[in-house]
Amino acid sequence: MKRGLDWFIVNIARRQSYLGRTCSRFCRLRLARRPTARLWSSCLSGNVPNAIYRQQSERHCHNYFGELLRLEAVRKYIEDLKEEYKGISNRLSSIQPHEEDGKSLSRRHVELAPLASLLEELQSSEKDLFELESMCNSLKARDDRELIPLVLEEQQQLSKIIAVLQGKLLQTLVQKEEHDDSNVILEVTAGRTTGGDICQQFTREVFDMYERYAHFKDWNFEVLNYTPADYGGLHHASACISGDCVYRFLKYEGGTHRVQRIPAVGLSSRMQRIHTGTMTVIVLPQIDETDIKVDLNDLRIDTFRAKGAGGQHVNTTDSAVRIVHIPTSLTIECQQHRSQLENRKLAIRILKAKLYKQAAEKDLEQRQSTRKLQVGTRAQSERIRTYNFTQDRVTDHRINYILRDIKELLCGGKQLDGLINKLLESAEKEAILELIETCNKGTTEGN
């Protein structure tokens, strides 16, 4: 609280024109300190009893989970899933494993297995709790002083365990996003600004940050494309990051990052004026080639030999390839390898990833979602994060989270990891809420 006030006053003294913005930011900072129940209460549309809004601590969040689980819609959904699981287990035991159906069924079986096990655990713990309660009542009836506190203690422990299990159950209920496990093609592009080359410098720093983050997470970072700008900045670059669940962590990095700093060269640097620039990060999940079919009639492939003789007539080292996908007019250029065929293969891989991304974005547009954390069209056009070098502050606008120490963040280590984990948490929470809403919609429609 005190920190907030100081910050507020300092800001007023500095930049009076931003008074309005700092005011609202200050309010949001207060809110950000209690992200859990308060946040939900602000976006929940009142399907849940008002009694919930009063509590604000973590413990009551678990109660909230419990309430959710007791909702009719959620219970019905869980029951349906349990039935499905049982049905699949029966079918799998009867049919041959190598049939087509068998594969999809076994996949679904694997998906539902953790859910089923959690449900069983939850049920057994609830049964234990129930037994304990009855034992407690009988003990009270007999007025046994010694055993009652023990029983109460056990009851408390059990309720804690049940709360945790309920949390896990809700998390598994939420559908995992399709391409969480896949590798990623990360592209960074410098934006435009009047402030000299801050965008290009910043793009380079961000690219290095992601490289170090990939190292930190033990992922493989392969640079596909690197176009430097003058004065040591970076114009655009792309890299292929492969490893465990890369897309899950990096999907919220896609979007426009805004930078505010004093440029190092030019007129503004001498006058010490702060300029604002942007850079975009695009994160594309890399799909298996079998997922997307590209018709080669739709492609126009340009190599060095657009006109003239070739083969034994010519000696060349130009193996650059440009592929134009005619229906969507997507253009991919590749000159990463010395072999023309390898360049072509790589370009087609990137083309497939981009085509998939386009198709996924279309899907997302059609989905009616009011959630803030969107990976896709809206996220690309709206700035997601601001890096203020003069004040040494990074703000993520989606969860209104503020970080200090930009240098530490640009090292791509624990700080960045922490920020990404926070984003993941809020995304999960939003997904759970969405799930509840759809469940409720289902029941209201059914009624």
Partner: protein, 407 residues
Amino acid sequence: MQGKIFFGCRVSLVSCFRAQSRCHNRSDRATFHWAASLTAPNKNLCRLVHETMTGANCVTHWQRIFEQNGISEPQYSSEHIISHVLGGKTIHSLAEKALTRPLTVEQKQMIWNLCSKRLQHVPVQYVIEEWDFRDLTLKIKPPVFIPRPETEELVSLVLSELAEEEDVLFSVGKTRWQNSQQAAHPLFLEIGCGSGAIVLSLLHFFKQSRAVAVDKSPEAVELTRQNAERLCVQHRLQELQLDVLSDSQKLTRICGLVDVIVSNPPYLFHEDMSGLMPEILKHEDHDALDGGADGLDVIKAILQLAPTVLKDHGKVFLEVDPRHPEMIQNWLQERASLRLTYRATHWDICGKDQQFLHKQGEAQRKLVTADQLDQPEAELRVRRPREEDCLISVKMLHKLQRQAESN
């Protein structure tokens, strides 16, 4: 600004210029004075004491020099040579730090040596003594023929035909194997192996196949062996040095029967030889290029050899000049005794110039005369590539079916 150099050799000053480092806001504002003597191609280039130079500077510097001297593809030449010295395959594979780090004396020496070779129109592949072909890196030495990008497509075609893959374009690694023994590990014969590009790609893909590689030049055979050892497939490859034009019977004796003959034979018309670029004319082996008056000398020799070494339903794959397919078809029709049916012409990716012929050898049991041939059954489907684009068009021109006589 002018300057003079003394480096232990007599030089005459032609021009001298000064280059500035690219990174202005770095502390090393490196400028250096450099002078070159270019009066005679054999004189070495000399350099004055210079200050720090980075990889990036070198690239722009040498690119300018190549441009001024009319070397083809100045930027690519410069980039490839310098990234080779710095340990990368392409300039894009090197990190920015590697390019802005000051070069060591040995590196500068190496770059200057290699680039001066390039100034004499030596192809880049000979200068750095290696090149990539598909997913392999091969050692290349003059005067052995340098593998061309079009030949990569020839190999894709062979793989697609043998592994029943739909798209020639994509050459995806996933294949569905035929059940026959033949498809699992076919036996290859390559004629005119050069650096071994084609045969080694095939052996790399078919992990159990064996192959025979033949070339007229002893240097080529030696280079193929070295590359095979680098790729650890030498135990599956047999190299022979002989001339198919004269020693074809020897080849038949040693080789036995093979499933596939593949070749990128010399197919240039003799009259076109003089119009070639200096890189090829001065440094590559002319015997690997010149195919005689009509470019068909070696091709005809291969086709005449085919019946004696090819198994039943074996295939022949050739890279040829655009003018050749019709000529070859006519020639084959005159020589029914070869029992080869012309299968298809596949255009390369630009749809214009190179064509790959694909022929199939038929059963060798009986001699079939002309009037027993069936009429071509499929209709002719040809797509003309447009002038402004490069479209891929892989079409079967026609298919002949032949009935083998039964006992």
